[in-house]
């Protein structure tokens, strides 16, 4: 046995060493092997490029494009890349796609290491954090306005959601609206009208009615994740109440502690009155409210969320029971508008060697009929008017998403100041909200705490 073991160990040793050497040989020039692959495909492409595409001339170029998403988005984007490569045989696009988990960390590491892809999908809430750095990470797309036709985008969206300091950081790929995702059978059962504009007060009243009729059911589910409750309740509530965003562009808190206290109180009332599913029950369903058993089983009237999450929420319930209405507003508020934002942006890495080619691909992606037909609404309803028209005309989008986005855009909120999108500020708001809702502090204490902590953070951002 002893002998066996010695030989086992030596075999292990040999395997290890040989595999390592093999792998070493195979990998040491990792980039090279990648390039060879790229060249091969490029060659193949060249062969069938006799027909010659529009921009078929030019040096062979390899672009890397990173995005996150689920299967539908991956498949559509891969198909789009395929189509683009066919039309532009000199271009090879390497797709680097993944799920959402870890995307931001990876992007950051790559940007730091100078290894980031040429085209990078980003979330508009990251914009300020990415652009307030000492290094310029993304190129100003205004430089490529001769390649990318910016006229197909609303100027307001380009300026206030996608630009920072006058530089256009990313081209919006889709538009998010907001609303209540409704189980209309539930609304009919409890005799709640669908054709009214809800206010937070009316939600609370209807919510109480539901609880009286059936103690197992709730009217509304509020996604407790920072990406939802802050931009869909906290911000809009204060905006409605005061007529302006609670944080201004010059890094000041604009609302008073009383006003903040009011927002806290209203939220607490939503939970305490039983209108909303208790926070304790939803907290582990952050950003996955569709998995809430009460929603699947029809014991929940509606979920408030971004239209981007609509497909998931709808499919969990079943399309036949699903409908949408607008988000609640503040009763007698100064403003009664609906939050919107671009779902995703695509930016050009400033360190990219092929920025113009990257811009050409973006132009094709957002403004060509072919791309619109392939990409449909996998990044929400396209923001580009050209693409949107095609999607509308051919009915390529989910009608409910379309409806929610259209309704939101009929009465959209103005763009929130970037400072309010700082990840740490949003996290602080969420934390104080939780403490208030759990009764660990009063709304007044919450307002006090929040003001102090957020102001401190704003001061450090101002620097």
């Amino acid at each position: 046995m002893k002998k066996n073991f010695v030989s086992l160990f030596s075999i292990l040793l040999v395997i290890a060493l040989s595999m390592a050497t093999l792998a070493g040989c195979g990998n040491a020039p990792a980039q090279q092997s990648g390039q060879t692959e790229g060249e091969e495909t490029a060659k193949e492409k060249e062969e069938d490029s006799q027909t010659e595409g529009e921009s078929g001339s030019g040096e062979p170029v390899t672009l890397r494009f990173s995005w996150w998403g689920a299967d539908v988005r991956h498949e559509a984007t891969l198909a789009a890349i395929e189509a683009y490569q066919k039309a532009n045989p000199n271009v090879t696009i390497e797709a680097e796609y993944q799920g959402f988990e870890g995307y931001q960390q990876k992007m950051m590491t790559q940007l730091t290491g100078g290894t980031a892809p040429d085209l990078i999908q980003i979330d508009n809430v990251w914009l300020m954090d990415l652009c307030s750095q000492k290094t310029v990470l993304f190129d100003d797309i205004n430089n490529y306005s001769d390649i990318i036709d910016l006229s197909s985008f609303e100027k307001q969206i380009i300026d206030s959601y996608c630009s920072y300091d006058g530089k256009l950081i990313g081209i919006p790929l889709g538009t998010n609206g907001s609303g209540l995702m409704v189980n209309h059978e539930f609304f009919e059962k409890f005799d709640i009208p669908m054709d009214t504009q809800f206010t937070w007060d009316s939600i609370i009243e209807y919510g109480k009615k539901v609880r009286e009729a059936d103690p197992e059911s709730y009217l509304i589910g509020i996604d407790p994740s920072a990406e939802s409750i802050v931009p869909l309740f906290w911000e809009p509530y204060l905006l409605g109440e005061t007529g302006e965003y609670w944080i201004s562009d010059d890094f000041q808190i604009t609302c008073t502690k009383e006003e903040m206290g009011k927002a806290f109180s209203k939220l607490k009332e939503l939970y305490d009155s039983g209108a909303a599913v208790p926070m304790g029950e939803t907290i582990s369903f952050s950003a996955k409210m569709e998995q809430l058993p009460k929603w699947v089983n029809g014991q929940l009237g509606c979920i408030m969320d971004w239209s981007g999450r609509l497909p998931a929420i709808k499919s969990a319930l079943g399309a036949e029971k699903f409908a949408t209405v607008n988000v609640p507003v503040v009763a007698d508020g100064k403003l009664q508008t609906y939050p919107t934002k671009p779902s995703l942006l695509v930016g050009i890495n400033n360190a990219s060697k092929h920025k113009e080619e990257a811009a050409k691909f973006i132009e094709w992606m957002v403004n060509s009929e072919e791309a619109a037909e392939i990409l449909k609404d996998v990044r929400s309803i396209p923001t580009s008017k050209t693409a949107r028209e095609i999607v509308d005309e051919k009915g390529l989008g989910d009608p409910d998403v379309l409806k929610m986005v259209t309704n939101t855009l009929a009465n959209p909120s103005s763009a929130p100041p970037y400072a309010g999108r700082n990840a740490e500020i949003v996290a602080i708001v969420l934390e104080e909200i939780q403490k208030v809702v759990y009764g660990q502090q009063t709304p007044e204490e919450g307002a006090e705490q929040l003001t102090a902590r957020v102001q401190a953070k704003l001061d450090s951002l101002k620097k």
Binding site: T135, G280, E281, S284
Partner: protein
Amino acid sequence: MLGRRRKNSFNMYKRKQWMGLVYIMPWLIGFLVFQLSPLISSLWYSFTDYSALGEAEFIGLENYRNLFTIDPNFRKSLSVTLKYVFMTVPAKLIFALFIAMLLSMKLRAVNFFRTVYYIPSILGASVAIATLWRFLFMRDGLINDILEAFGLNSTIDWIGDPRFALATISLLAVWQFGSSMVLFLAGIKQIPQDLYEAACIDGASKVKQFFIITIPMLTPIVFFNLIMQMITAFQDFTAPFLITSGGPANETYLYGMLLYDNAFRFYKMGYACALSWVLFVIIIAFTLLLFRTSAKWVFYSEED
């Protein structure tokens, strides 16, 4: 019993001590090449405003000052993490030792049982774990259903209630006790049988044998498990990362999560570095404490 092995001080290793350096050479090279410079960089960054996305500017002790004076999450996370360490580490070790004892006996289907007990550890931080844990511990979940079957009408949100959240996610760590168990199993199997034979002849009962042979002979492994589990537990953030993102009301905001947030969500890498060096010092302190006490309760057969 252990004294039986006492020998003359003849020791061939004493004559070839320098050979040790040859054996540890691979590590030494690895340490110098792969580990030292990241270590030093992170120490340097902790005195800067490094965002990970731009140049770092020296700001002296400001990160450390902020951490101790301003940041309420630092204190919160630290206290949550200490609770977590003190809950999970002993529970995990005791449980692992108990199961390892059972599994080291000659039983039918013992192979099958061993595998079953290791499965949770294989699942690790799998994508399915979060879903699973929610499903077990939500208000309408399996745990409450089982409690109900025993006549306890429970409507507790085990994850969503600030009072129970930390205990619930600690359970996830304890549930994954497999690696400690495997080490104990290996340790038990390494105990020379002649010790037991001798004890048998001396007429020691099974229980006595456990306390005078098994436990003392296992102490090096207990010690190893204790140190490693402690180090891991201090840095752990699997559960909040997958399930709670730190809530409710920061009750599960483990230090590792705070660190991760600062490094990769808030773009405060310099601050994150300061946080981790503070954690480093804390862990070192605990480790030294354990090493100090180890002379009193850890037995090595090699010692002559």
